[in-house]
Symmetry: C2
Subunit: 111 residues, 2 copies
DNA sequence: CTACATACTGTGTGTCACACACTGTATGGC
DNA sequence: GCCATACAGTGTGTGACACACAGTATGTAG
């Protein structure tokens, strides 16, 4: 694929960046642990590496948007994440902004 | 507004990042210079600082997606930018990806 | 003829997030 | 005992955006 493909890849990543956070927040309205969260997002078409997801989860928790808890399930310790109250409010604001951007881009594209 | 507002701002910026590039490329299917490009994007709802736009334009030109040319118009030297052939191809690919992400997010949101 | 607005194009630096490569533990099947 | 896979991370590099700043040219108010 070469240089052109690389350029596309980097622009594509750039385009996806913010959407990952939004997808994670939205999917964590239901409690989930990392592994199944990643699978759920992949099923929706938002694939990401574990090494992208876990730092993101920790960051969001540090920022107070998520709460997490270690629990034992099926003989394994798993860390369950869920949206906090602040997280819900933030999700709503970000969804608004997402829709605004979406509309702007649609307008530009159609011209 | 304080810390919460700052957090929202940074997430919002993150969300907008890739879209700026896409908007610029799409708007440059017609030749424009920096100042009017910025105004056109602002009218569409995609506002950005000059100090964001100009580095972006240079980057895109370095990557071969834009071509630019200095011309005199109304007694001022202006730098006109336009999408290159490579840029058009890239724009199409990125629009595809944008639509894919958009669909993924819609799916997640609706659940 | 000076002062200021505004059209117009840039540069330098800091911050922050993602991807990539890597590490590590536990369980179950063979 | 061995390997796949479920599961959770860490460390580092790269690169983009925002912010603050710099600079030129033109028109216009006083």
């Amino acid at each position: 694929m070469g240089a052109d493909g690389d350029l596309y890849e980097s622009l594509r990543l750039e385009l996806r960046r913010g959407s990952l956070t939004l997808g994670v927040l939205a999917r964590l309205r239901e409690e989930r642990y990392g592994y199944t969260l990643r699978q759920a997002l992949a099923a929706d078409g938002l694939e990401m590496e574990e090494s992208t997801l876990y730092p993101l989860l920790r960051r969001l928790e540090t920022q107070g948007l998520l709460v997490s808890e270690w629990r034992e399930e099926e003989k394994r310790r798993k860390r369950f994440y869920k949206l906090s109250a602040d997280g819900e409010a933030m999700l709503l604001r970000l969804l608004d902004e997402w829709r605004r951007i979406s509309r702007s881009l649609e307008k530009i594209i159609e011209d």
